[in-house]
């Protein structure tokens, strides 16, 4: 057999390499730091993310395959990687004081965030099902540990166990799907699969269809679509809040990137088959997420259901499956990243050690007691609800118009109705903050510099994208232009 030595194109992997090396460095730095003073580990991590972000911009606009078609570096993956890196950076900034308050200030936390981000980046850039699977597992295994990071807290333990069991369960389904696709098409290469399918005359190979279904289940679990969403509220509620913030944005971005690459490109010829399934899933996801969110009393749980609903909106972009649809997914992800991270940032800042101040009731009167924090929370909630002039509004607008343009009028109508429902529970928190008297003593809020930086970035992003959306929309459109 001929031995092909792959061309080592380290430059195209530069961001991932920088991040991996930083993560290992953080791990080594942290064992030499004195106990309880692990902040330098976080700063090393932030520096690594910054360098990775810079190197990412160098790769923009030069789409290419690398490592024997294992990796695809195009604007699509770069855009998602930027979202992921920003998410990781903001999560680290939010964690520094939070971990100290919880008495769990360990450097390993930052290393795990970075490793998880590396996994996400490999998922977005994966041009082969092997790369996508490995990226997914790197991301997930780090997140299992992160979810259980507060190891003395029963809730955190429980969250980690549930995430682990259901995550591993879903990975097995995804893997079985990959095995079937490999069996039916003879390759795990995404380009190879799409070439095989475009040549094939007989599309009803049961192995292929079963593989597609299993892949759908696997991806569905990871992005929490109904009916594979059961784990989400428990995991999001029990995990440390900064990890919840990281998970809710990062995992969605990475898995949606891989989802789009596999379904909208490799399995494009099966589009009539998966489109109907996705239509049903999207409607169920939006509706159930929004309706159950209304009944929640815990703010983290409410945001968990809201993130399920948002996954449903994003799926509309996939169903539209035109250029506008795909670019609107990218744009929505960017808007959602800043907004959701900001909302969780406020929850972290307002929360207390253990499970303090996490009920929606606790927010009553907060708007007058802490005007700045109240205003920030209101902006983020408005953006989640999709009220102008915030990023969330523009994002929803483009997703819905993509659906209408592709002829899915009913889907768009259901989406709009759902966003109306969601306004109710987002505004309920705002009403609590401004129109109710405090039910308990709201004392001891301390703003740490890192948290202030994180919140400023989040609110600036939310408003900037909302008021001047066109440069970001152009960026998203350019990102899908060379999609291979």
């Amino acid at each position: 057999m001929d031995l092909v030595i792959p061309k080592i194109d380290a430059l195209s992997l530069c961001p991932e390499l920088v991040l991996s090396i930083t993560a290992m460095l953080v791990l080594l730095v942290t064992v030499y730091l004195p106990k309880g003073r692990k902040d330098p580990a976080a700063y090393v991590g932030l520096l690594g993310i910054f360098i990775a972000l810079m190197s990412l911009t160098l790769l923009w606009g030069k789409p290419r395959y690398a490592f024997n078609n294992m990796i695809m570096v195009d604007n699509f993956s770069i855009f998602f990687n930027m979202v992921i890196l920003v998410t990781a950076a903001l999560s680290i900034l939010m964690s520094i004081t939070y971990l100290k308050e919880e008495g769990m200030s360990h450097g390993e936390f930052y290393a795990l965030i970075l490793f998880s981000a590396v996994g996400m980046m490999f998922m977005t850039a994966g041009a082969n099902l092997i790369t996508i699977f490995l990226g997914l597992e790197t991301m997930s295994i780090s997140l299992y540990v992160l979810a259980g990071f507060l190891r003395d807290s029963n809730r955190s333990n429980e969250s980690a166990l549930k995430y682990l069991l259901l995550g591993a369960f879903s990975s097995a389904f995804l893997l079985y799907g990959i095995a079937f696709i490999y069996g039916a098409t003879g390759t795990t290469d995404l380009k190879g699969i799409s070439e095989f399918l475009s040549r094939a005359t007989y599309m009803k190979d049961p192995m292929l269809l079963a593989g597609m279904g299993l892949l759908l289940v696997g991806f569905g679990f990871k992005i929490a679509t109904v009916p594979f969403h059961m784990w989400t509220p428990d995991v999001y509620e029990g995990a440390p809040t900064s990890v919840t913030a990281f998970m809710s944005v990062g995992v969605k971005a990475a898995v949606f990137a891989a989802f789009v690459r596999v379904f909208s490109h490799a399995l494009w010829d099966l589009q009539p088959d998966w489109n109907q399934l996705l239509w049903i899933l999207a409607v169920l996801t939006m509706t159930l997420g929004n309706v159950i969110a209304i009944a929640q009393t815990n703010i983290k749980r409410m945001l968990a259901y809201s993130s399920i609903a948002h996954a449903g909106y994003i799926m509309m972009g996939m169903i539209a499956s035109n250029e506008l649809g795909t670019s609107s997914i990218l744009f929505y992800m960017l808007a959602y990243a800043f907004t959701n991270l900001g909302a969780f940032g406020v929850v972290i800042l307002f929360g207390r050690k253990g499970e303090g101040n996490l009920d929606i009731e606790d927010y009553s009167g907060m708007g007058f007691k802490y005007p700045v924090l109240g205003l920030l929370m209101a902006v983020f909630l408005f953006s989640l609800a999709g009220i102008p002039p915030t990023a969330g509004f523009v994002g929803k607008f483009y997703i819905f118009s993509a659906a209408v343009k592709a002829g899915y009028i009913w889907l768009a109508i259901i989406g709009v109705m759902n966003s109306l429902v969601s306004v109710y529970y987002y505004l309920r928190v705002t009403v609590m903050m401004y129109m109710k008297d405090p039910v308990k003593d709201l004392e001891g809020l301390h703003w740490s510099p890192s948290m202030i930086v994180a919140l400023i970035i989040a609110v600036a992003g939310t408003l900037l994208i909302g008021i001047f959306p066109s440069p970001y929309l152009d960026l998203a459109k350019q990102s899908v232009l060379h999609l291979m």
Partner: protein, 118 residues
Amino acid sequence: MPSDYFPVFVFLLIAVGFPVMIIALSSIVGPRKPSPEKLMPYECGVDPIGSARKRLSVKFYIVAMLFVVFDIEAIFLYPWAVIFKDLGVFGVVEMGLFIVILFVGLIYAWKKGVLEWE
């Protein structure tokens, strides 16, 4: 369209039906004559000593886990070892990188005091 999924359905039916059938059959047909010897936990044929529910130090667990992780990584060495002559310098460098990454993990474990058994 739904009829296209018929073979998948048949496949599913066999896959689910067979285990169910086997489990059901073994519980219906299989004779059940428990005796003290049969119910005894199997410990290589020797009479078991003490309770199996005894607690072990968690240290065993950490060492075992280190072993599992490093042991499994060795599977990547086997295919490499078979053809490393053909791979030349490239193979050595690549495997060197792989080992360095594992080594970082080992240093971390070492510094954390996992390898000490006091």
